[in-house]
């Protein structure tokens, strides 16, 4: 049974604003699934339909085998959610939030245990949530989500507003929960946030799913590998086209630039250049950024590169 399954899920606002447009999505049990897309792509609307905050115009959604609309309460007993645009109760201490989550989920967790798991200082847990920083708020909300050891975590932009350190810790908490066997559905508009943790990603653009694949699969599919640039004393006569795993090769005075889709091809290229009599003075490789890949799918942004 799939953890999340949608068929032709559609939400139309007003006359013709198709926030989510015929979404067919399957998230398997036990996987960490990244739900990617630029802001406004329909990620939150999709999640809100899974939670029955928003009712679909057409199509169906099931979560853990339950109909998202008719059996929403049963679903929410078994899942943990970090919803979009949430707010804590500013006058209640952090701990009271965790207690409320445990109570409503009819769980037996020890609140202190959860506070510890999400890395919230026990002293801070006694303070009013209104005084919390963004990082503390997210930790507390995640603590409410993981109460009752849910089979599925649905996290809507969990790293939003966090510094890189906080975002990494957040991902670690999520991975920690996934290791307990839970399915994780993790939305983000930043690919970098999901690539490290997700088994598969789905990219949503303008309410439609443009692709579902593993990160590596995505790289291959779009043919963007890494680029290796060799600085040489002289450019020799070369034929590199017969090397497997090379998609492009260019030479300029003093440089040889190849685009490789298979990392193993790099050493073959270097050997070939040296065998031809050139001295390699420097090697530089640039990884095709996933951001560029993401931009290619969602149809916006420029191709940017990250030096590795």
């Amino acid at each position: 049974m799939a953890a999340i399954e949608t068929h032709n899920l559609t939400k139309v606002y007003g006359q013709n604003v198709r926030a989510v447009d015929g979404l067919d999505l399957t998230v398997e049990e036990g996987e960490v699934f990244g739900f990617l897309g630029p802001n406004g792509a329909g990620k939150s609307t999709t999640i809100n339909m899974l939670l029955d905050f928003v009712r679909p115009t057409s199509g169906t959604a099931t979560v853990l085998g339950h109909d998202a609309q008719a059996e929403s309460t049963q679903i929410r007993k078994r899942i943990g959610v970090l919803p979009e645009g949430y707010e804590l109760y500013p006058r209640l201490p952090g701990r009271a939030h965790i207690e409320m989550a445990i109570e409503l989920k009819d769980a037996t967790d020890d609140p202190d245990d959860i506070i510890d798991r999400v890395g919230l200082d026990p002293e801070d847990a006694k303070r009013k949530a209104g005084d919390y920083s963004q990082g503390m708020r997210q930790r507390l909300a995640l603590g409410m989500a993981i109460a009752g050891d849910p089979e599925l975590l649905i996290l809507d932009e969990p790293t939003n507003g966090l510094d890189p350190n906080g975002a990494r810790e957040m991902r670690n908490i999520v991975l920690d929960h996934a290791e307990r066997g839970a399915t994780v559905f993790f939305s983000s508009h930043i690919l970098e946030q999901v690539q490290a943790v997700c088994d598969r990603v789905g990219i949503l653009a303008s309410g439609q799913l443009v692709t579902v694949d593993t990160i590596d699969g995505l790289r291959e599919e779009t043919g963007t590998g890494s680029t290796m640039t060799l600085t040489v004393d002289t450019v020799p006569q070369l034929n590199l086209s017969d090397i497997a795993g090379i998609s492009d090769a260019r030479t300029e005075p003093n440089t040889v630039e190849v685009t490789v889709s298979d990392p193993g091809a790099k050493i073959t290229v270097i050997d070939r250049v040296r065998d031809a009599g050139a001295t390699v003075q420097d090697i530089k490789t640039t990884e095709a950024s996933l951001e560029a890949l993401f931009a290619a799918y969602t149809g916006d942004g420029e191709r940017t590169e990250v030096t590795s």
């Binding site: 609307t45 929410r76 804590l88 109760y89 006058r91 409320m100 109570e103």
Partner: protein, 286 residues
Amino acid sequence: MNRILSIAKHDFNYARRSWLVWGVVGLFTLIVVLATAGIGYFGDDVTGETAVGLITAPAGIFVPITAVIASYLAIAGERESGQLNILLSLPASRLEVVTGKFLGRAAIVLLATVVAFLVGTIVSVPLYDGFPVGPFLTSMVLTALLGLAFVGLSVGISANATTRSRAMAPAIGVAIVFATGVWGGLVNGINFIAEEAFDTSLDSNTVELIQVLSPRGAYDRLFSAIVQPELLVNVTEAEAKQLGLIPELSDAPFYLQNWFVFLLLLVWIVVPVVIGYLRFERADLS
């Protein structure tokens, strides 16, 4: 049921941390004490019966105000800020949320009413020669019902509103129309126009029915019918009925009998919440 009580408990705990709510409760207690003990302190010949007889004037306005302030943001405020997203991410149905919120705010208003009347009793008993504690506590029960009617109205409004400001206007409107003399004035105005322009007048029972259709009207009527007869000092019950202090129930139609007026108050407590819930259940929340 457990979840409803859990929501109600957390809601009560949350609302009781608001200074605004306790400010209004404190003010209400002060008003009840002033209205009962205060007039006895300043006027020598005021009896405890008179003091209790006058309690509906301040209580009839301030309990509804307390109830509206304590309740009108119960759902709309959380919907606008986003606490509702947290609550509804947990296993709570929308019905449980509305019911729990109603119970939480009802508890605040009941507590406020009980505290105000008990403090009023404690201060008044030594002050008057034979303070009528029984009738005073009966007024407390009626006042609590009136408060609950306004909790019901406000929670119902709150469940329908998407933002704070959209909850505020109707909540204030409801308090003005149904808790002050506006409704009664309206009824009398209609009757006056009927007499002047059409040379006809509404049957007095009909006028009274329209009066008791408002929660404040029902409250006033129940007070005159139940508490007032216990407070007569120098007049007989027959004389009081002739003076209009006490309604004549023996020949009154069913809709002016106490049981029916009670029912009307219960309708105010329950029906707005149900309507609010039904609209809330169908709403897209995001």
